[in-house]
């Protein structure tokens, strides 16, 4: 009976399948390792998921804002924000607030830049954000070049800080996801956002400031990417070129697998966690089974196709 009803839920809300898939992969890894290191595997996957989720949540705002909206500048914003903030702080913990402000500010400015290209020059978002990301990449190359800029020790400590065995950053980002979910479902901004995503003309006719909503989405996405870059630099030992590379397509994938409609108008912040966990546990499992790296990408593609195919009502 319970199995039946949970199966029905899974079919009605395919995004929950990601959690099932993640659990399955974790179980397989446990079998491969003979039951050892299960908690560690999960901890590591959760720690990396934090960054996937942060970047994905930003992408979610943009994708929810309607057909065609997508932000391909996330990796470039991450890298540039990390370089600028780590460079300004130069290892000095007293400058942490300034560094954080610079990281967030970089992202907000990138969002404004994206909207200017999209609105004023009427360039489709997929190309506008790509073009902007090229420019930001150049800025990042100039800000740091090939070097790795180290974070202040306090930031590195904070990124892995644990209280009672639980990573603080993980709890904070979980809380953020819950808050974002609340904003989407209950706040005026959230309702406006979904209305714009569903039908921007109708939304404009009801007096919703469509372009202000879109601007907010791109700025929020930029700010989240900046924050991701800032924290990731702390977590992984510094700002590096290409630190954001894998987030380009992964941020899109986790959002849509998490239950946000590709065509906009429906958003799900909690669902991103399942997809992020799945992607990060998959990497661990491939290692545990000593499989070729190629299988990781094939599995990633397969789960995207599988979950997407359960959403036949998506408009094209």
């Amino acid at each position: 009976m319970t199995a039946m009803s949970s199966a029905t839920i899974a079919l009605r809300a395919p995004w929950t399948l990601n959690f099932v898939a993640a659990l399955l992969i974790w179980g397989l890894t446990l079998v491969a390792s003979g039951g050892r290191g299960g908690a560690e595997t999960l901890t590591v996957a959760l720690a990396f998921s934090v960054f996937t989720v942060l970047a994905g949540t930003g992408q979610m705002f943009v994708i929810a804002a309607g057909p065609g909206n997508i932000d391909l500048s996330i990796p470039a914003v991450m890298t540039l924000a990390a370089y600028l903030s780590m460079g300004v702080m130069d290892g000095d913990a007293a400058l942490l607030p300034l560094g954080l402000a610079i990281a967030l500010g970089t992202g907000v400015l990138a969002g404004v830049g994206n909207i200017i290209l999209i609105r004023a020059l009427k360039i489709p978002p997929i190309i506008a954000t790509l073009a902007l990301s090229f420019m930001l990449q150049s800025l990042a190359n100039n800000a740091g070049g090939e070097a790795t800029i180290k974070p202040p020790q306090e930031l590195a400590d904070f990124a892995i800080l644990k209280l009672g065995g639980v990573q603080i950053l993980l709890v904070l980002v979980l809380a953020l996801s819950a808050f974002v979910q609340l904003v989407i479902a209950r706040s005026v901004f959230g309702r406006y956002l979904l209305a714009v995503g569903q039908n921007d003309r109708a939304a404009a006719l009801t007096g919703i400031p469509v372009w202000w909503i879109r601007l907010s989405c791109y700025c929020l996405c930029g700010a989240m990417a900046g924050l991701t870059g800032f924290l990731l630099a702390g977590f992984s030992g510094g700002a590096m070129l290409n630190m954001g590379g894998t987030y380009l397509m992964e941020s899109v994938a986790v959002v849509v697998l998490g239950g946000t409609a590709v065509a906009g108008g429906r958003a799900n912040a909690i669902g991103i966690w399942g997809a992020a966990l799945f992607f990060n546990l998959l990497g661990t499992m491939i290692n545990a089974f000593h499989l070729a790296e190629g299988w990781r990408f094939i599995c990633t593609g397969a789960i995207i196709l599988f979950v997407i195919s359960l959403n036949p009502d998506e408009p094209r």
Partner: protein, 319 residues
């Protein structure tokens, strides 16, 4: 009074539409002018060959993208697909040609199935092709985990061929443009394919199958992707799964630059060829201008924006 304003508006639209359709060629001409001014040597047979060589695989990938975009879809997998073809050719074509061809044929069938699934299950093309991009890349990694392999001699010879009158890449670009123009813009077959993107309901009511149109278009996109990979391997003479990830987004940019639109049914094969060459030449121009390497990618972004901004200025409609 009303007549005058209508006439004026019509004249205006005429001029604008000429500007709009001419924009990709203007951009290409401007790019070539700058290149020739900087480096007159490129006007030689050898110079043009070198300059245009790498635009041919990009043109073919952009054609694949153009067909898919004309359907109202987007293909996010073409870059990793070209990478897969590159690996298959570099690994199998030397000693196991039949096996290599079989894999490529299966990959093209995979492309057609992708189109059919998008249609039958009414799925988002962005997500299906994004998923498949991971699959193509994964398979390429399984075939060739590290860059290596060798293009067969006959393929490398093709790229080195000394064509009469004009360098080979120029011949190829012209032939591709002419074939594209006549099959897509001047034949009843092309009308049906474009109609399947522009007004699927009308095409279906006229008795044509949209599913078949999609199958044809996605198979054609797969075949163009294979050709792109073949030419690319002929030029680079080795295999690398990561050889062309930028093709995905640059091919989209080339189509839009060439006068295509995401709304479906709108495409310009000759414009796409011009757009792809323009984007491929942007890199050469920046090195000729001595733009420092760290600024080159940013400058490419600026060129993209500048050309597309020109498109926005001469636009007639709000779409």
């Amino acid at each position: 009074m009303a007549d005058t304003s209508t006439a004026l508006r019509l004249a205006g639209t005429g001029l604008q539409s000429v500007l709009r359709s001419g924009l990709p060629y203007l951009a290409l001409a401007a790019m070539l002018a700058v290149l020739i001014a900087l480096q007159p040597n490129i006007l030689s047979y050898f110079g043009l060959n070198l300059l245009l060589k790498l635009s041919i695989p990009l043109i073919l990938a952009a054609y694949a993208q153009m067909l898919v975009i004309a359907l109202g879809d987007i293909d996010l997998s073409i870059g990793s697909f070209v990478g897969l073809v590159n690996c298959v050719v570099a690994v199998f074509f030397g000693d196991h040609l039949a096996l290599g061809l079989l894999i490529l044929a299966a990959a093209v069938v995979g492309y057609a199935i992708m189109g059919a699934v998008i249609h039958l299950r009414r799925l988002s093309s962005i997500m299906v092709t994004l998923g498949m991009s991971f699959v193509w890349f994964g398979v390429a990694l399984l075939i060739l985990p590290n860059p290596g392999g060798v293009a067969p001699e006959w393929l490398a010879d093709f790229a080195r061929m000394q064509a009469p009158l004009m360098p080979l890449p120029l011949w190829l670009a012209i032939v591709i443009a002419v074939i594209g123009h006549f099959t897509l813009m001047r034949s009843s077959f092309g009308v049906i394919l474009r109609g399947a993107g522009g007004n699927p309901r009308a095409i279906a009511r006229a008795g044509w199958s949209i599913l078949q149109a999609r199958l044809v278009i996605y198979s054609a996109a797969g075949i163009l992707g294979v050709l792109s990979g073949l030419v690319l391997t002929a030029i680079t003479t080795s295999g690398d799964p990561n050889v062309a990830p930028t093709y995905t987004l640059v091919s989209i940019a080339a189509v839009i630059l060439g006068g295509g639109a995401f709304v479906g049914g709108i495409m310009s094969p000759v414009g796409t060829v011009a757009g792809a060459i323009t984007l491929a030449l942007a890199g050469s121009m920046l090195s000729f201008l001595n733009v420092p390497p760290v600024w080159q990618i940013g400058a490419q972004g600026c060129i993209l924006v500048a050309v597309l901004a020109g498109r926005a200025l001469v636009r007639t409609d709000s779409k």
